[in-house]
């Protein structure tokens, strides 16, 4: 996809042309999350369908990141049900969410600072490596074959994200925009069926944002990955999302296609303040 695709008409057209949306893959029902006495999320319900780009928007402190943390098991809500692929899920640790095919990136970059770009992305494929500790110690047979096979996959991702020249650089030394890209690469390496992106474009300039948009759309389009996106840039959100859910003070105030949400009065009030 090239840059001309990132405009409302084009994405609306894509939605109209019946992009392969599947069934509901993730269903959140009446989620409430508290920290001590502080209510982070109150009675929130929404669903995510397979292959769609689902955005969560809302002012700062609305509970967007908490929502993602609930989805991949970092936080455990006190109330509510979570159905993933039709199965009700009990208390689930983050690493188990990853095993079920949920990957994510973080608002404040959470790369492994001491490791190279290559190693960072390789960690994303750790789940698929099956050799035992002795084989790894000898670096022989299966262990070596696995390293090389997964390295090839990782190189594909490196090519996709256009970061070939920094593959052996420690991530701590990279500029911010590239770090965000590496983090996306690490999440992609796991070949997730659902990708949670927490403000992937925060702090980027226009050009970097365009690149990132392109990557997100490509991932969604080429791999059919379901994407749950938190983003502050309304232009981007309205452009690339299929459906948008709006949170404010931990409550859901809007849900629907970008155009519906845009004209929702509660949403306008939350964003622009009220004029009585």
């Amino acid at each position: 996809m090239d840059m001309t695709d990132i405009n409302p008409a084009a994405s609306a057209a894509a939605a109209d042309s019946g992009r392969r949306f599947g069934d509901v893959i993730l269903d959140l029902q009446n989620i409430s999350l508290r920290f001590g006495g502080v209510k982070a999320l109150t009675d929130i319900s929404f669903d995510v369908r397979e292959h769609e780009i689902r955005s969560i928007i809302g002012p700062n402190g609305a509970g967007k990141s908490s929502m993602l943390n609930v989805i991949n098991g970092v936080y455990h809500p006190q109330e509510g049900r979570i159905l993933y692929r039709g199965q009700e899920r009990k208390r689930l640790e983050p690493y188990m969410a990853a095993r079920q095919g949920i990957a994510r990136t973080f608002q404040n970059i959470a790369l492994f600072k001491g490791m190279s770009v290559l190693d960072n992305i390789m960690t994303g494929r750790n789940l698929m490596m099956k050799s035992n500790i002795l084989q790894m110690a000898l670096y022989w047979g299966r262990a070596q074959k696995e390293e090389i096979a997964h390295r090839e996959k990782v190189e594909e991702i490196i090519d996709f994200l256009e970061i070939q020249d920094v593959r052996k650089t420690p991530v701590g030394q990279l500029p911010y925009g590239l770090q965000k890209r590496v983090e996306l690469g690490r999440a992609l390496a796991a070949e997730p069926s659902m990708l949670l992106l927490d403000e992937p474009m925060a702090g980027m300039n226009v050009e970097e944002k365009q690149d990132m948009c392109r990557f997100i759309l490509d991932v969604n389009d080429q791999f059919g990955t379901t994407i749950v996106l938190i983003e502050h840039d309304m232009g981007v959100v309205m452009d690339i999302s299929d459906r948008v859910v709006v949170l404010d003070y931990g409550k859901k105030i809007g849900d629907g296609a970008p155009d519906e949400v845009r004209s929702n009065e509660d949403v306008i009030r939350a964003y622009l303040g009220t004029s009585h």
């Binding site: 690493y95 492994f112 790894m136 390293e147 090839e152």
Partner: protein, 354 residues
């Protein structure tokens, strides 16, 4: 100009993933091994083996084990001495209680015993972090200090509290002379260093480093913190336990619990910090530094003709180590190993600055 990788193109990922991808490095390491295995046994004096090379090798091995835990997995341990002690006393008991127990098997069993205890005291790391974990490992230190002193069974009810081993041999070859002891340690250390390097460049090594750098993010991409931390404790304690066996059997011959006191734990931690956290060569550099500095400081006054008492020397050693720890933590947290690689980088580019 000699140190260049220009023209050395990699045509496969296997070639790119070698331990020493640069040709000159392979030559250097080959030369080093040649010196260690051939030249040293021919040229070294008895004092050199006993006072420098053997302790250096064994401490390097222990530091290597500790570095896996602290440098690679980010879990602090102030109880390394305890895990060495467990290895040493376990191997001792296997030797004493089972007739005809071969040294190598006893050594590996000692390592396994240390693994069990290491994992046991590593369990708190699943719930507590950093400073708190330091306390848990200190508990291991004090508890084993006490156990080997007070529980007679461990020392085969030795009345003096001191135990000893004699007539060590490997496949019938006696390990008695300084040269044979040195070569035995050298082989063990080389094997473990290679395996440790392999682990750290495999999936498991990346898991450890991921947990070290950011544990929440590691969990989110599917790494089980429990598994990563406990394997780090297990591998680390195994290596440290084997080092404990060597220290007791080969270096000391006869020993008491004080040989594995908290001072030993601190000493090893310092080696890892000075040598370089999270690097295999760092363990060797740190151990070399730690073994050589007191020897040099001891000799220096003789050479210069200034009389300094032994007590003062030991205080000076304390001061220098203390100051160096702070220095390295501030200036170069990756220690001597990093300084070395920076030097190499400069050499690659020389005579150009960039």
């Amino acid at each position: 100009m000699l140190y260049r990788e220009n023209g050395q193109f990699k045509t496969s990922y296997a070639a790119d993933q070698q331990i020493f991808p640069i040709l000159q490095d392979r030559w250097a390491i080959g030369l080093l091994l040649l010196v260690a295995f051939v030249a040293m046994p021919l040229l070294g004096s008895e004092y050199f083996f006993r006072a420098i090379l053997i302790p250096f090798l064994i401490l390097a091995l222990a530091a290597l084990g500790l570095n896996i835990l602290v440098g690679y997995c980010g879990q602090i341990s102030l109880g390394t001495g305890a895990f060495m002690a467990v290895g040493a006393y376990a191997a001792y008991n296997f030797m004493v209680r089972i007739d005809g127990m071969p040294l190598i098997v006893a050594m590996l069993l000692g390592g396994l015993a240390a693994t069990v205890i290491g994992v046991l005291f590593g369990i708190p790391s699943l719930r507590i972090k950093g400073l708190y974990l330091a306390v848990a490992t200190l508990a291991a230190q004090f508890f084993t200090d006490w156990a080997f002193l007070r529980i007679g069974w461990f020392t085969n009810h030795s009345t003096s509290g001191s135990v000893s081993v004699a007539n060590l041999n490997v496949f019938g070859i006696p390990i008695e002379s300084p040269v044979s002891k040195y070569l035995f340690c050298l082989v063990v250390v080389c094997v473990f260093a290679l395996m440790a390097k392999n682990l750290t460049r495999s999936a498991i090594g990346r898991q450890w480093m991921a947990i070290r750098d950011m544990d929440v993010a590691a969990a989110v991409i599917g790494i089980r913190p429990v598994y990563a931390k406990l394997t780090a404790f297990a591998v680390s304690s195994f290596i440290v336990g084997v080092a404990g066996v060597l220290w007791a059997f080969v270096y000391l011959g006869a020993w008491e619990p004080a040989a594995f006191s908290i001072d030993r734990s601190f000493q090893l931690l310092f080696m890892v910090i000075i040598g370089g956290l999270g690097s295999i060569s760092g363990a060797f550099l740190g151990a070399a530094f730690m073994v050589l500095l007191p020897v040099v400081l001891d000799q220096l006054p003789h050479w210069l003709g200034i009389p300094i008492s032994t007590a003062t020397v030991s205080h000076l050693v304390h001061m220098i180590f203390g100051a160096l720890i702070v220095f390295f933590l501030i200036v170069e947290p990756h220690g001597l190993a990093k300084l070395w690689s920076v030097g190499k980088q400069k050499m690659r580019l020389w005579p150009f600055p960039h």
